[in-house]
């Protein structure tokens, strides 16, 4: 059984691609590769990461132009084949604009960019992305965005809550999902969600920025570790099942 292969998609204007690669390859020794946005296939990859940045300058709306890029057809195909897809920050915005996740991003409540540490509560530990966290665990992670104010209409929000699709929620120092703990005004303090099947995830905080103790927190490392471990486990169970 070979090691999980992870794709990191690069759009013109992406700027966290090298950071995600550093953590995957340099810190965790994973088999990660870059994929240029003009590619049309993601065959052979077990997971796809859409990194942060300002794809196409974030002109029009954050993520809107990237969502029309050729690679998105491949991302869509991979997602429906059950491949793990994670969008971080701008990647989350792209997944929303592409309709792979429900809802939309509005400019931050204060109408300014915010780069700061936040606390997020891990609402699910039964997903491949979060299996290395404990349920209810609180992680310290930085955010850096101008449009991270998650919005969905009331029906969508109640569906998300009912299906337990909210994966990460901003909380304050006491672990409560208050306005004080919320850096951008996101409804229901939403910091990250998954699709109904649970293999497409979007999150605004940057786990790659907190995967080494030197940078102030290691709380993001479990995100990548969990992702890699669950791919390995899947492959193992498929192999074990003697398909």
């Amino acid at each position: 059984m070979s090691a999980p292969r992870v794709a990191v998609v690069i759009f013109p204007g992406s700027n966290c691609d090298r950071d995600v690669l550093h953590v995957l390859r340099g810190v965790l020794g994973a088999d990660a590769h870059t994929v240029w946005h003009e590619e049309r296939s993601l065959a052979g990859f077990d997971a796809v990461i859409l990194p942060g940045g300002f794809s196409y300058g974030d002109y029009l709306r954050a993520g809107a132009i990237a969502a029309t890029s050729p690679i998105l057809a491949a991302v869509r195909a991979a997602a429906s084949a059950g491949v793990l897809v994670a969008g971080i920050c701008n990647g989350f915005q792209i997944l929303l604009e592409a309709g792979l996740l429900p809802g939309a991003m509005l400019p931050n409540r204060d109408a300014t960019f915010v780069c700061d540490w936040t606390r997020i509560r891990v609402e699910r530990d039964d997903l491949p992305f979060t299996c290395a966290y404990g349920r209810g665990q609180i992680a310290r992670m930085p955010v850096a965005h101008g449009e991270g104010n998650y919005y969905a209409d009331a029906d969508t929000l109640s569906r998300l809550e009912a299906n337990r699709q909210v994966v990460f929620r901003y909380v304050d120092d006491d672990g409560a999902a208050t306005a004080h703990g919320n850096p951008n005004g996101a409804l229901h303090n939403i910091a990250g969600i998954v699709d109904e099947r649970g293999n497409v995830l979007g999150m605004m905080p940057h786990p790659e920025r907190c995967s080494e103790a030197l940078l102030g927190s290691c709380d993001g490392r479990a995100f990548f570790e969990g992702l890699l471990a669950s791919i390995a486990k899947r492959a193992h169970s498929v192999a074990g099942g003697g398909r």
Partner: protein, 731 residues
């Protein structure tokens, strides 16, 4: 003035002035060429001989600066300086001003300032890894100043955040002297393998000249000449082309494409097209290489129809580079830029004959020796020592207690927390930021050379410089270096940004000369070479000159990032010591301005030899684990420094300041060479011994404890709760 009217000149005085030249300069041009320049050539001389490009008034003073030292891979003379920070690893640094563009359009002016300095560093083959911004505005009590500040900050955020280079530090100072003429200086740090340094000297006759990046439009035409003019009321209505607009998206693609292009090994020389655009890049690259170029403007990618040769040559459209590529390899390099959605066109070739020949299709429009453009005349103007400078700022009510005075100084806009600003900057991208903005200096680990890290800080004090130019120049270099040393890093190189009024005023010329002498003296003592810099003159408005404001950015090396220190108190029971010279004064201090409402007297002059000992000692102490924290004493004096350490560390402290019988002086006096540090009880003796043997004074101040700052100074007792301190400081 026009005494030579007898010569039948092709141009009138008005034409010459409109080109930004003096009549004598026009005559000089005719003399050098042995003929009349044509209109396009005259305009090219106008921008290349502007103060901004030619350093006509500052060149002779800049010679005072020390530029050589261990590890200098590239001193002044290139787009950025480069110093070796680990074996085979160079760090490029450069500062640049964008004051006038920011006064006219704060958002785009500041954004393009960031874009421009990034490309200077990129031109060295370096990947930009950090930005610092040093800002001066009028008092935030005025809505106009706040709007200017907010526009500038969002412009820096707009460009820096999108481009993925963290803004890790800077300065934000408010003085009414900057109300009409804000200062917006940005510095950039980049990383480059020493064997991959790129340079700008063109070479190799027959090699293609490749234009790469965004298309050319009518942006910023005459910007360089404009940046050298005094701002007057009419300038706000000047041609829209004076405003340059940046596109960080194209800028980011340009960085990636350029680094990939340099990786191919076929790029002979490269330079950004910044001030004076194509004119500057072609003439400087040719002149540095002792060669010429044949350029065809018809091949320049353009945004608008109907652009003239002059417009194409002078445009300051952003996000453009000029490359000399090895023969036969232009397509390889062009393909890289095109893949990133950028323009790439061969617009000419290098020639052995040192002549810059520019065609527009079949027509020869310019034929000049490159050095005629790059070697402008220099001027020496009379200097006069300023006398009796003093200002009444306002007449504030005197505080009822020293505690109240502390809260007031702590809450003064220049001293208070800048978090609301740096929170708008992405300061974490690239995963190097170990110590973030808000500290004395930012610390960045180098993934290329673990466990090495660098520390960077930028500093300057216009008020001090106005009162004593030498003290201001020496103080800027000394404080930036001390900030870096407080993190445990050894300062290795600096870049200076000199922001002054009109050099044609004798007092300003004196300030400029003495401030540079101060920087030179301090840097020489500390063995910190100045590897590049920027001069911005004519910072004048109808209400007068700005405070003369030299700024110095220093980088230092930490051989082991795990030894990095911050100012935050770390542990209950740690002992607080004051390391360094005791000399302090209220002249020119924050306290004098905020509490006493005056700016007057003589600030303390740094003792450069003693300061150099202090700066050398701190990294050694940090490396040996003798310090828990360190913070230099600057604006607001010892009381503010202690308060800042308490706030950062969430600890209180109990201190006693001995020596002075004047509590105001003891608490709020400012001096250049003092550091508040902490040490564990068990290491105090070792620390004291090390300081003594290095010839650096050290005194015990007190202990970290409780949740209030308590200071006894002469007859005064000050006690303020931590929460109160934080509220005052955070506003």
């Amino acid at each position: 003035m026009r005494t030579d009217a007898a010569v039948d000149a092709a141009f009138s005085l008005a034409d010459v002035r409109a080109a930004g030249l003096r009549w004598t300069e026009y005559l000089e041009i005719r003399g050098r060429l042995g003929r009349e320049p044509n209109r396009v050539e005259l305009a090219m001389f106008g921008v290349m001989w502007s103060e901004h490009c030619a350093y006509k008034h500052s060149r002779r003073y800049l010679k005072l600066l020390p530029t050589q030292g261990d590890g200098v891979l590239q001193g002044p003379g290139e787009n950025a300086g480069v110093v070796e920070v680990a074996p085979g690893i160079g760090v490029a640094l450069k500062v640049e001003s964008h004051n006038h563009p920011s006064a006219i359009d704060p958002f785009h002016g500041a954004a393009t300032g960031v874009g421009g300095i990034l490309r200077d560093v990129l031109s060295m083959g370096a990947r930009p890894i950090a930005i610092l911004d040093s800002l001066r505005f009028g008092s935030p009590a005025h809505a106009a100043s706040r709007r200017l500040r907010d526009g500038v900050v969002s412009g820096i955020a707009h460009y820096g955040n999108a481009i993925g280079v963290p803004t890790v530090g800077g300065e934000l100072v408010y003085e009414d002297r900057y109300a009409e003429n804000p200062l917006v200086n940005a510095a950039c740090i980049g990383i480059v393998r020493a064997d991959r340094l790129a340079r700008s000297a063109a070479a190799g006759p027959g090699n293609p000249v490749l234009y790469a990046g965004a298309r050319t439009g009518r942006d910023g035409i005459g910007g360089a000449a404009f940046a050298s003019d005094e701002l007057d009321v009419a300038s706000v209505d000047r041609d829209r082309s004076a405003v340059q607009i940046g596109d960080p998206f194209a800028g980011k693609s340009l960085i990636e494409a350029t680094l990939a292009a340099l990786d191919t090994g076929v790029v002979v020389a490269i330079q950004d097209m910044g001030a004076a655009g194509l004119t500057c890049a072609t003439s400087e690259m040719s002149s540095k290489g002792g060669v010429g170029m044949r350029i065809d403007l018809a091949r320049v990618p353009r945004r608008e129809a109907g652009m003239t040769a002059g417009e194409l040559l002078l445009s300051e459209s952003q996000e453009r580079m000029l490359l000399i590529v090895r023969q036969g390899e232009a397509d390889t390099v062009a393909a890289i830029y095109r893949r990133w959605g950028l323009q790439a066109e061969v617009i000419g070739e290098v020639t052995a004959e040192p002549a810059l020949r520019i065609y527009d299709g079949g027509t020869l429009v310019v034929d000049l020796p490159p050095e005629s453009l790059t070697e402008a005349p220099a001027y020496q103007v009379p200097e006069e020592e300023p006398k009796g400078r003093a200002l009444i700022v306002e007449a504030p009510e005197s505080p009822r207690s020293v505690a109240e005075a502390l809260l007031r100084v702590l809450g003064a806009p220049t001293v208070a927390s800048k978090r609301a600003v740096f929170r708008q900057y992405d300061h974490m991208v690239q995963l190097n930021t170990v110590v973030a903005p808000g500290a004395d200096a930012a610390v960045l680990r180098l993934k290329e050379a673990p466990p090495v890290a660098i520390a960077v800080a930028i500093d300057g004090n216009g008020r001090t410089t106005w009162l004593d130019a030498w003290a201001g120049g020496a103080g800027a270099a000394s404080e930036a270096a001390l900030n870096v040393a407080c993190t445990g890093a050894r300062p290795v190189a600096a870049t200076d940004g000199l922001n002054f009024g009109s050099p044609e005023k004798p007092e300003t010329a004196w300030d400029l000369h003495n401030a540079i002498a101060g920087i030179a003296d301090a840097c020489r003592a500390m063995r910190v070479p100045i590897v590049g810099g920027n001069v911005s003159l004519y910072n004048e408005s109808p209400v007068g000159s700005i405070f003369p404001t030299p700024m110095v950015a220093v980088i230092g090396v930490l051989s082991d990032v795990s030894c990095a220190l911050t100012s935050a108190f770390r542990d209950d029971g740690d002992l607080i010591v004051l390391i360094g010279e005791e000399a302090a004064s209220l002249d020119g201090s924050e306290y004098d301005k905020i509490v006493r409402g005056r700016v007057a007297g003589k600030p303390v002059r740094v003792d450069v030899a003693a300061h150099a000992r202090l700066v050398a000692l701190l990294p050694a102490l940090a490396a040996d684990g003798l310090l828990q924290s360190a913070h230099d004493v600057s604006g607001g004096g010892l009381a503010v420094a202690l308060a800042e350490c308490c706030i950062a560390g969430h600890f209180g402290a109990r201190c006693r300041i001995s020596g002075s019988s004047d509590p105001e002086l003891a608490l709020f006096g400012e001096g250049p060479s003092r550091v508040v540090a902490t040490v564990t009880r068990s290491r105090l003796a070792a620390l004291v011994a090390r300081c003594r043997s290095a010839g650096v004074p050290v005194a015990e101040l007190g202990v970290v404890e409780g949740d209030a700052l308590a200071i006894r100074a002469a007859s005064a007792d000050l006690v303020v709760g931590l929460d109160q301190l934080r509220t005052a400081w955070e506003g």
